[in-house]
Amino acid sequence: MKWIACELHTHTLHSDGRQTLQELAEGAAQLGFDAIALTDHNTMSGLVGKEEVEREYGLIIVPGMEWTTFYGHMVTIGLSEYADWREAMQQDIDRGIESVHRLGGIAGLAHPFRVGSPACTGCFWEYEIGDWNAVDYIEVWSGTFPSIQTDNHRAYRLWTDKLNEGYRIAATSGRDWHVQSDTDEPISVTYLEVGDAACAKQDGSDIQADIEKGASESEQESFAIPEVALIQALREGRASVTIGPLLSMVLEAAGESYRIGSVLPVTKMNESDEKMTATITAKLSVDFSVRPGQWSLAEQTFKLKLCSNLGEEIAVNVIDSTQQSNDTGTLHPKFETSIELPVLPTDLFRKWLRAELWGTVQGAHTRIAFTNAVYFESTAEGGAD
């Protein structure tokens, strides 16, 4: 398995961006991204000639389009062709999402709580969603230094509420990147986890072409990963979001491993069998070596939290391995720990679990990183599909 650094929300001068695809790709590559999604407003014309740009910068460019409508902005990625954004009525965005799915794409709510018209037309999500199962992801972090913005806090809460209701929805970040300009604000990354098997298992001519192209024309390892595998990763919630180190989590129960995005089956015990409940161990890692030189955090002790529908379950300290690396010269500083999850009383059920990394960034106490969820499914009462 491999984590791919992605920027999932970008624009060029094919809509209202002030950069060409080439300039965008160059900027993304310089910032250490492996992949970007081009999500121009209501057009896919900016993707013409993308293969050449991908080769030049060793960057995957996932096709996409931001539905820029009257009642919300919806990022759609991985589509083979255009889906019509103009038909969407406030009450039937479900049909729009369905049309995106039919074309092989996935759909996410873009910056759902950004102030809407007339300040930013259609920017606030006002669609009534009939079936939240259809929503693939929510862009909970929008812009630079997203973790301190109040509108992003609302989006994060919306995501948490939907998880609590039993929906399996992924969460991402997106810079909504319109122009090449230097910023002192932290830049967020959505890491998508791509399996070695995922590349081979997929079928379809486009992927085959990508693999051949990657093998023959690029030395870049990441370039050989078909964009379909990235879309599949996000569809399944194999995502971890950060403004710095890469946070990952694997749950182990009864000899099996459950990665982010997967479903851990929980056999419901008789009340008398309480002690038989299998223990679940969370294996956590904070990798400070990712995108070296592209971000920095002040020396500190971070807090690693495990959160679920039951609230914050556990918090542990994380020693700043970046500083360790300076002292010892270690090349790959990584903090790793195993935590046994508390056994719950029989009347409580854990629906989902995610990890969060907290600390101080530019003077603000804030989330630095969070994983997507591992879901729990009771054999007695199933969650939402």
Partner: protein, 158 residues
């Protein structure tokens, strides 16, 4: 060289027309090498500052939580000036040919076989039914006038 004028239409819209589309169909009788568009609307900006701030404060009632509203009102300046936004998208008989989602109140656009304005898709300019859609994302001024002209650079076959 005579250009073939296909369409020259204008209209007036008001804030009540916000969040609607205007479909403007036109026929292309013979295939041609290039289609030109000139789209403009005015005014672009709501100059009345008091009116603009009022509109913003009304929108904050909807979009901003009560505990943050006071701060938002104090910072309303960051969202000024308020602008009208009308965008153009294009369809040929086969389907979507792209959109030009940007704030320019004057846009001179074209499509041709191998090139097109940013946002539009190059490709065959085939005879048939075409459509321009004007999407009125937001009209903030009391009135806003638009004009759309479409022409081909060639003479029509007689």
């Amino acid at each position: 060289m005579n250009a073939l004028k296909l369409l020259d239409t204008q209209g007036r819209v008001t804030p009540e027309d916000s969040r609607t589309h205007i479909r403007i169909p036109f026929e292309l009788n013979t295939s041609c090498s290039r289609l030109n568009f000139r789209f403009e609307y005015a005014p672009k900006v709501l100059e009345d500052r008091e009116q603009a701030v009022k509109l913003l404060q009304d929108s904050y009632e909807i979009y901003i939580l009560p505990e943050q509203r006071e701060q938002a009102n104090a910072r309303a300046e960051r969202h000024l000036p308020l602008k009208n936004l009308i965008t153009l998208s294009l369809d040929d008989a086969q389907g979507y040919r792209g959109a030009c989602h940007r704030h320019d109140p004057l846009q001179e656009l074209f499509v041709s076989q191998h090139e097109a304005s940013p946002g539009l898709m190059a490709g065959e300019v085939a005879a048939g039914s075409w459509n321009v859609t004007l999407s009125l994302h937001c009209i903030v001024t009391d009135i806003c006038d638009y004009r759309l002209q479409i022409w081909t650079p060639e003479e029509a076959d007689a």
